[in-house]
């Protein structure tokens, strides 16, 4: 009887020990996952921030450029439309939480990519207008736009880095056993834009006057 009680006591002690160890392990992992997720959300907010900065520059840019005599209206319309579609996509996203749905991020990226293309086309077209190249306002907008593109690249890189840390933690053993239970799904990355893996075609357009001589410093 006494021996039986002792055995029970030992068993209970062992069970208690196992439970405590498991709780500590799960708690530690949970805290780590929360920290990593927080980092991902923070870098996502930073990404949104720099994209917003670009969107804010556009009305000013469009105004300045459209002031130039008979500027091509089609490129301006394209930029304005692309910006509007970015706004629509952004409406569906939570600015404080990184997207967990890969399709959603894909959509966001596609809209932003379209805006990037429209903007670069606008800047290329504006090369043909000497009036713009002498415009101080346009030059400063161009510098700001270029700086914003640099920031976008940096923040996207940072975002991908934090997502990678998070995904490695979520998917590696033994955290992967509890990550699903605790509600930590893997998160999508920024991908390369379609067609980015092949170099852009070089076109020699001899029909239009080249702006190169005017652009030499």
């Amino acid at each position: 009887m006494n021996k039986f009680a002792l055995g029970c006591g030992v068993l209970i002690a062992i069970l208690l020990f196992v439970v405590v160890v498991a709780a500590i392990a799960i708690g530690g992992n949970y805290n780590r996952l929360v920290r990593l997720q927080q980092a991902v959300d923070q870098s996502w907010a930073q990404v949104q921030n720099v994209y917003q900065r670009r969107a804010d520059l556009i009305p000013n840019l469009v105004n300045t450029v459209s002031g130039a005599a008979n500027f091509e209206k089609s490129t301006l319309v394209e930029v304005t439309n692309a910006r509007a579609s970015v706004g629509r996509v952004q409406m569906q996203l939570d600015p404080n939480k990184a997207p967990t749905d890969a399709a959603q991020l894909e959509q966001f990226q596609a809209a932003q990519g379209q805006l990037s293309n429209a903007l670069s086309r606008l800047l290329v077209v504006s090369e043909r207008y000497p009036e713009l190249k002498a415009n101080q306002n346009f030059l400063s907008l161009q510098a700001q736009l270029e700086g914003t593109e640099n920031r976008i690249s940096v923040e996207r890189g940072n975002f991908n880095k934090t997502v990678q840390d998070y995904n490695v933690a979520v998917r590696s053993f033994p955290t992967n056993l509890i990550a699903g239970m605790l509600g930590f799904p893997p998160k999508p990355f920024f991908n390369a834009q379609p067609g980015a893996e092949k170099p852009p075609p070089v076109q020699f357009n001899f029909g239009t006057p080249a702006p190169a001589p005017a652009a030499t410093p």
Partner: protein
């Protein structure tokens, strides 16, 4: 000035950037990371953190001017806590765009204080005829891209075109400092000076105590192994004072000789990273 824009349209640059973020699954991510690490290692060199504020690796500025610039930048950190570093390289050791590459270098160097992130690095690549001002997060308000562009394009570039690097750098440093002065207040010491003065008084004591113990142990050991100490008949566990003295004499001699060798670097103001970070702010020019 618009030529660099034409040379590399945004589409190409975007493609370069997006390549870095091209990952689908962890396995692919790892492979891509390794591949990029290898290719980046082959193509790109991140120079080690400099130990001075003004670093002329290309040899375009006189020694006196370099140490004057260095002292000016060190004093600026004491006054404002802003860390401004100038690095003149002969050539860019990377295939990437200058904005991307210099951001990575500035980030790796950690210029600027940790909390304020107030660092600025002016990069100049002589043979590439390119320069770029990288602005830390905390100074993007005081030194926006347009100001950075104006400094490189209208202040530094004209003397550079004329071949006078020293004048260009002097004017550039002055206008950077004037633009960002007043944003933060300094503590009167650079990051390096703070690190040396802030060290707790307990550590040298502990260090000394450890050395003392070591020297005694050294003396003890020797006599024990020899088997016949001066005063040992049975056990041999005594301290050989000659050995202890020898240990300390040796230490002082080696200490003073090494200090004599490296003394020159500690006399001028050195740069120590404060742990700042960079988000791609800034602008550059070609000449």
């Amino acid at each position: 000035m618009l030529r660099h824009f034409l040379n590399k349209p945004m589409v190409v640059r975007c493609a370069e950037r997006c390549m870095r973020g091209r990952v689908r699954s962890p396995a692919v991510a790892l492979m891509v990371a390794i591949l990029f690490a290898i290719s980046a290692h082959a193509a790109e060199v991140i120079p080690p953190t400099p130990s001075a504020y003004f670093n002329d690796y290309a040899g375009v500025v006189s020694k006196e001017a370099a140490s004057r610039f260095n002292e000016q930048l060190a004093q600026f950190e004491r006054d404002t806590s802003d860390q401004v570093v100038v690095a003149v390289f002969p050539k860019m050791q990377s295939e990437s765009d200058i904005a991307d590459y210099t951001q990575r270098v500035a980030q790796a160097w950690g210029v600027g204080q940790k909390g304020r992130r107030n660092g600025v690095v002016l990069f100049v690549f002589i043979q590439d005829r390119k320069m770029f001002i990288q602005v830390g997060y905390g100074l993007e308000g005081a030194l926006p891209d347009v100001s950075a562009f104006n400094i490189t394009e209208y202040v530094i570039k004209p003397p550079f075109v004329a071949g006078n690097y020293e004048a260009g750098l002097r004017a550039g440093i002055n206008s950077i400092l004037n633009t960002i002065r007043g944003e933060y207040k300094g503590s009167g010491a650079t990051a390096r000076e703070q690190r040396t003065t802030k060290r707790s008084p307990l550590w040298p004591l502990l260090f000394f105590g450890g050395l003392l113990l070591l020297s005694f142990l050294g003396g003890l050991h020797r006599t024990a192994r020899r088997g016949f100490g001066i005063s040992s008949k049975g056990s041999g566990w005594t301290i050989d004072w000659g050995n202890v003295l020898f240990f300390w004499l040796n230490l002082f001699l080696s200490g003073s000789s090494s200090r004599g060798g490296g003394g020159s670097s500690s006399s001028s103001s050195g740069f120590s990273s404060g742990g700042g970070s960079f988000g791609g702010g800034g602008a550059g020019s070609t000449w």
